[in-house]
Symmetry: C2
Subunit: 208 residues, 2 copies
């Protein structure tokens, strides 16, 4: 499916894993020079983990039960090392990563968030946007730092809020854009030269 030179990506998820599938499909179509080598979940029953196994991708469940945050993250890092992951994509992973975890993959962890950050960080962003009465929301793919939804932005896509929307219909429309934005962002980071300047990502010419 993917040539051996592709970048090795781990996906962390807690739920249905629709962004995991969107990434996988874009990679399978050859649009992103990467492949998913392991899916890790903190919820043993996450639907996304079952989908990974259906696709022949190793799925590792690391329950939080009885573990400190450090112990839990260390077990996840062990799984990532075992599968030689080079990048980490969070796809509906519902916990903040510790500074130690972030430092293990410096500027190599991506997250996707269902709003145009810095507006509406945190949980239930689509409802936050709807309650606020915005007429444009969207999604953001960003590098993960130690803050909440605060790292440098890679890609954003706007999504209109219509008069007959409710938070659920808005969330569904944003999700469709997320599935485009996440592969686009990963591709951009893997195929161009870039650096972080202040809190901006600065892109240079395409790599040869």
């Amino acid at each position: 499916m993917s040539p051996g030179g592709d970048v090795r990506v781990a996906v962390l998820l807690s739920g249905r894993g629709s962004n995991f599938l969107a990434l996988h499909q874009a990679m399978s179509r050859g649009e992103v020079p990467a492949r998913i080598v392991v899916v890790v979940t903190d919820k043993p029953k996450a639907a996304g983990a079952a989908k990974a196994e259906d696709l022949g991708i190793p799925a590792v469940a690391v329950s939080r039960r009885g573990l400190t945050r450090e112990q839990h993250e260390e077990r996840i890092l062990e799984a990532l090392r075992r599968h030689r992951a080079e990048w980490v994509c969070l796809a509906g992973y519902m916990r903040l990563l510790s500074p130690l975890f972030v430092a293990a993959f410096p500027q190599r962890i991506l997250n996707i968030h269902p709003s145009l950050l810095p507006a509406f960080p945190g949980l239930d962003a689509q409802r936050q946007a709807w309650d606020h009465g915005t007429s444009v929301s969207g999604c953001t793919v960003h590098l993960v730092d130690e803050g909440l939804d605060s790292g440098p932005i890679v890609v954003q896509r706007p999504v209109p809020v219509t008069a007959d929307d409710d938070p659920d219909s808005l969330a569904a429309r944003i999700l469709t854009e997320e599935h485009q934005a996440y592969p686009e962002a990963l591709k951009r980071l893997l195929t161009t030269s870039w650096e972080v300047e202040g809190r901006r990502l600065k892109f240079f010419e395409e790599r040869a």
Copy 2:
């Protein structure tokens, strides 16, 4: 130019008045059932005031010099009463209005802001967005309440930030959208039924 039944609008500005001109032009084309009856500026040399006079629209300069905030606002309110203004559009008016002023035109004051609020309120919003590294910004037309750029949102338009942008080129691209958004928002408020619910504007069917 405009029929007598049109809504009487006052424009407050401190600078070149490009959004004032955009509103005026949309009204002249019959796209917004309103007309500008007076332009008020706190900067006697504002280019927008000269443009108003060129168009035959009364321009009133109310300098802040030697006046308290209350005295200054009271003089502006006198001018609005004298010209029987029903709505107030802020178009680059660089001061926060007091609660007393806002209460004189309840839900009848509009402002335009060069970002997708609630992101980047306050001064120099285009540079704030650029410094933050966003890849989508835009503009917002909102009803004015007592906060800074905080009232209910009427219209927002997204604007992409491109790799070769700087704050000035971004500001210019946003300004083009402002000139569309402001007449659109005023038209919407004057030609539909609406109410403020929480902090959302809720629109009903078109008026007959």
